[in-house]
């Protein structure tokens, strides 16, 4: 059944073209139904499959002469991310209820993107995974270039070229792994079980890790992310930050680290700048990303750029969690993937849809005098809650995730963990600053002129915000919901290589 999350999204996209001309409302409803159906399938699988072990969904030969199979499978990690995709997809449509320019095409591209994301999370065959991973690129481009705002064509092209360079690196690594193993199989399990020589892994690991890391906002390859997020329409920013960046992180864990564990931990023969292995390098880059993202977010004038850079900072947490290589850190990274997907979606929804679509400005200085906390109180409340969650207040998903990553980092890299602490403090400051400037600035003149009152927050927007906040609180209060399936997945034989390397 889980495979139908992919098919239903693609079918929904195809059905868009069958709708009569100008049927905007119908297109919205069709898109919503499709996304809800996908979400329902994901939720059913999530509820039913409580052991977290790898579960084969579909397996048929695809290109027999190369040993490539159409093999879909899900374990706890993929299930958590599929559930996230379902939630973000549904709320993204709720927040794009106001799209009336080329509506059908918008939702068609949107659903193709969603379907491909489901595909990546479900693929067990690496060829299949790569196919879905690349399908994601094209709808992203059009969503931003057609429906975007600020410098949209530049932002879209930059994002696509970065993604494509990343996937080119991944492709080189995958082809090399396939040829070197000579096993006539692209299955993740088969390739992960093949003992690649440490020398080969030392080259292949950084190649594939950085290839996926580009999409995960790995510093210094993150620059596509803020411009892309800012240029994108609300729903696309939500998807980009919410799930597409997770594809990169998922690829780092699922492909790079699983296939080439020795490349990660084997110490180099000599130390460069005090770093002895790729693990140290990427942990350092992750921490630099956390602090750099937070610092840059601190000085932005554009509201959406604040959120864009905060994504870079939060993605740094995920990458750091992956590099800790201990169970608590890795589980924390996956919880953070889920948490950041929800919260980034919420933040972008507030900024892009609730505020920008009404005020037509994102300048913090211009938003202040509008006293938005009086005019659209729901937006202010939603942003305060999202901001609290994002800065890691207990009771929200962000807290659990960051705590677990910090504990893991403390075991692995005590010095870096201290730096992360600084990053968290800066995180509090930039959220506070943005919140204060945008919503609670003292208005010197009279509130917004009564001739042009801002339209009130609509029902779909309220619904979307409530779903996202609810999900974050649920995970924050009862993290076992995710951990129960993530931990067994991390203990599965697939990650044997990593465990043998250095697993505490």
């Amino acid at each position: 059944m889980l495979a139908w999350t992919i098919y239903i999204s693609f079918l929904g996209a195809a059905a868009m073209f069958l709708l009569p001309k100008g049927s905007v409302a119908l297109a919205r409803i069709l898109a919503l139904l499709t996304a809800v159906a996908g979400f329902a399938l994901a939720l059913t699988a999530f509820v039913q499959h409580r052991s977290g072990e790898m579960l084969t969904v579909t397996r048929v030969p695809w290109i027999p002469s190369l040993g490539i199979e159409y093999h879909l499978a899900a374990d706890g990690i993929s299930l958590a991310l599929i559930l996230l995709t379902g939630i973000v997809a549904v709320t993204g449509i709720l927040f794009s209820w106001d799209i009336d320019h080329r509506t059908k095409e918008f939702f068609a591209f949107y659903l193709v993107l969603i379907g491909a994301v489901y595909g990546v999370f479900l693929s067990y065959d690496l060829f299949l995974l790569f196919v879905f991973y690349e399908i994601v690129i094209i709808p992203k481009y059009f969503l931003i270039a057609i429906w975007g705002s600020t410098r949209r064509e530049y932002g879209a092209m930059k994002l696509v070229l970065y993604s494509f360079v990343g996937s080119a690196m991944v492709l080189v690594g995958l082809i090399a792994a396939y040829v070197v193993s000579g096993s006539q199989s692209m299955s993740l399990g088969d390739l992960a079980g093949y003992p690649f020589s440490p020398h080969f892994q030392m080259f292949a690991f950084p190649l594939v890790f950085v290839g996926f890391g580009i999409l995960a906002g790995l510093w210094p390859f993150h620059t596509w992310a803020p411009t892309g997020h800012v240029a994108a329409p609300t729903a696309a920013s939500m998807l980009l930050a919410g799930v597409v960046m997770k594809l990169g992180a998922y690829g780092c864990l699922r492909v790079a680290m699983t296939l080439f564990p020795l490349g990660l931990v084997t110490p180099w023969n000599h130390h460069v700048l005090g770093l002895g292995s790729w693990r140290g390098v990427f942990a350092l880059l992750a921490v630099v990303g956390i602090i750099y993202g937070a610092l840059v977010a601190l000085v932005q004038k554009d509201f959406k750029f604040v959120i864009g850079y905060s994504s870079v900072s939060h993605m740094g947490f995920i990458l750091l969690g992956l590099m800790t290589l201990n169970q608590i850190g890795l589980s924390g990274a996956i919880v953070q993937m889920f948490s950041h997907g929800i919260l980034a979606g919420l933040l972008f929804a507030v900024v892009g849809r609730m505020v920008y679509a009404r005020t037509h400005t994102r300048e913090l200085a211009a938003l202040g005098p509008m006293s938005l906390n009086h005019v659209i109180p729901f937006a202010a409340v939603a942003f305060v809650i999202a901001g609290m969650a994002s800065m890691g207040l207990p009771g929200f998903s962000g807290f659990v995730a960051e705590l677990m990553i910090l504990v893991g980092a403390w075991h692995a890299f005590p010095l870096l963990a201290v730096c992360v602490g600084i990053g968290i403090v800066i995180g509090v400051v930039y959220v506070w600053r943005a919140m204060q400037k945008a919503f609670f600035a003292e208005s010197r003149n009279e509130p917004a002129s009564p001739e042009h009152p801002l339209p009130p927050i609509s029902l779909p927007e309220r619904l979307g915000a409530i779903i996202l906040i609810g999900a974050s609180v649920l995970v924050g209060v009862y993290p076992q919901l995710l951990l129960n399936i993530i931990v067994p997945a991390l203990n599965s034989p697939l990650f044997d290589g990593l465990r043998k390397g250095s697993w505490q």
Binding site: W62, I63, P64, S65, L66, F127, F130, V131, E134, I135, I137, I138, Y141, F142, A145, I146, E153, M157, V160, L161, F164, V165, A168, L171, V172, I175, A176, Y178, V179, V180
Partner: protein, 500 residues
């Protein structure tokens, strides 16, 4: 299956072997006769429809003959060969020719309809012989038959100066490259006292390369590099792609590529066997492999980088063709059985996408006057089917899954690396360059889907036939991408059966 294997000529058997070619020539003559004798007073469209149908019927009949009465033959030490592999390439060429003929039905560039179809079919006949031979003389003669027809086809739009200029350039460069090729062939004959590829391979086998052989390798590479538009022998390509009438350009860019690449592979692998050398950095050993590796690398770099700056879609496709020639040359560099399978898959799917792109260009030019990229602004609103088709073709050329171009690239790179891991540098270069190529391909898509329709844009009637053709080609590209095995299985079976 009839098996023929003789060192002496038996004309009855030869006749049996060349039935498909005979059918083609007969169809060409019938088409030209019907057109000139019966239809001279009719509209060009009707004349094109009749002549193209007759020509296509001829192609279909030839395909049927190849499929239904397969022959396994080797006449006079490879002068003429029939085996499953040759048959597969011939069928591919014939199928592509059918598309070209159908594509020409809506064109208005000439009143000499019968002659156009005649030349297309004669060129196809040349390709049929070209791929069916392992003998220098027959290869050269059929290559000239093909080339001379193509020169005239490039010049067929008599009212267009561009078409003249393109044809003249094509002819001059072509003549020179033919001279190089003939020079190389004469050296090979001098070295081996034979025109058969296998005999040549036997004669040139020695531990150290004969200097004359080096010259022969280089000049042969120049001659065939010209045919496949590899850099630095590509100078004709942009002008011909731009100046020639759309069906001719599509023909030059598709069917002719399939035949040329196949014979390039055969000539290098069979004729120069024993003089391979290696292209492994940094230990390059002299031979034909490093020469081709160099040509491939230059083609990939130059084609992709120059394509970025183009403002005309045809020129853009020309430079992208140079880049694709670079990728495909990798398969020859790898010279393994799998890499031949990858090459055939790649070149056939590439040809399908290219014909489709030219079909769309032809319609746009008809309405808007030129193929400038700005003429594609907002095309998706005017002609949704054609735009969607062009998007599929362009994305396939860019190598985006799940389209045929992606699997072509993937399989090609895998086979290259499988043949020798030291070719990794070429594979890395190719993948890096295909990341670059996405930029200019996306520029085309941006024009169609993102740019606003110019306010003065009028109504746009897409011809039904073009729409059907584009839809069929797009469907083929998608289908072969999603289920590569449909074609791959056939190629591999043919390779097994032919023992190459």
């Amino acid at each position: 299956m009839i098996a023929i294997n003789h060192a002496q000529i038996d004309y009855a058997q030869l006749l049996q072997l060349v039935w498909p070619e005979i059918i083609l020539v007969a169809a060409a003559l019938i088409a030209v006769a019907v057109d000139l004798l019966l239809l001279r007073k009719q509209t060009p469209r009707l004349r094109f429809a009749v002549a193209a149908s007759l020509g296509s019927l001829g192609c279909v009949a030839a395909i049927l003959r190849l499929v239904l009465a397969p022959v396994q033959a080797n006449i006079l030490d490879g002068t003429l060969i029939a085996n499953p592999l040759v048959r597969l390439v011939q069928i591919a060429v014939l199928a592509l020719t059918i598309f070209i003929l159908l594509l020409s039905v809506d064109s208005k560039f000439t009143r000499h309809v019968g002659e156009f179809v005649l030349l297309v079919l004669i060129a196809t006949t040349g390709m049929m012989f070209l791929v069916a031979s392992q003998d220098l003389l027959v290869i050269f003669i059929s290559l000239e038959l093909l080339s001379l027809s193509l020169y005239i086809l490039a010049a067929f739009s008599k009212r267009s100066l561009q078409s003249w200029e393109a044809a003249l350039k094509y002819f001059l460069f072509g003549g020179m490259s033919a001279a190089f090729l003939l020079f190389g062939f004469s050296l090979l004959y001098g070295l081996s006292n034979s025109t058969s590829l296998l005999a040549i391979a036997g004669a040139i086998h020695s531990p150290s390369l004969n200097p004359l052989l080096v010259i022969a390798i280089v000049t042969t590479t120049i001659g065939l590099g010209f045919k496949v538009a590899a850099a630095p022998f590509h100078f004709w390509a942009p002008d011909v792609y731009q100046g020639a009438p759309a069906p001719s350009a599509a023909f030059i860019a598709s069917a002719s590529k399939v035949a040329s690449f196949f014979i390039f592979f055969q000539l290098a692998v069979l004729g120069f066997a024993g003089a391979e050398g290696t292209a492994a950095l940094p230990h390059i050993v002299r031979g034909w492999v490093p020469v081709l590796a160099l040509v491939a690398a230059v083609s990939m770099l130059l084609g992709n980088l120059v394509a970025i700056t183009q403002s005309s879609l045809r020129r853009l496709l020309a430079y992208s063709a140079v880049a694709h020639a670079g990728y495909m040359l990798l398969a020859i560099v790898a010279h393994s059985q799998q890499s031949l399978a990858a090459l055939l898959y790649y070149v056939i799917t590439y040809a399908l996408a290219t014909i489709g792109a030219f079909a769309v260009i032809a319609v746009v030019e008809e309405h808007k006057g030129s193929d400038q990229l700005s003429n594609f602004d907002g095309l998706a609103r005017q002609a949704p089917v054609l735009s969607f088709g062009l998007a599929i073709f362009i994305l396939s050329l860019a190598g985006i899954p799940p389209l045929a171009g992606f699997f072509g690239k993937f399989y090609l790179f895998v086979t290259v690396l499988q043949s020798s891991k030291s070719l990794l540098w070429l594979v890395v270069l190719a993948i890096a360059m295909s990341a670059v190529s996405l930029y200019y391909y996306l520029k085309v898509l941006k024009r169609m889907y993102v740019a606003a329709l110019p306010p003065d844009a009028g109504q746009f009637e897409s011809p039904v036939l073009s729409q059907v053709l584009v839809a069929a080609l797009a469907a083929a590209v998608v289908l072969l991408g999603c289920a590569p095995h449909l074609l791959l299985r056939w190629i591999e079976a043919a390779l097994q059966a032919s023992g190459l």
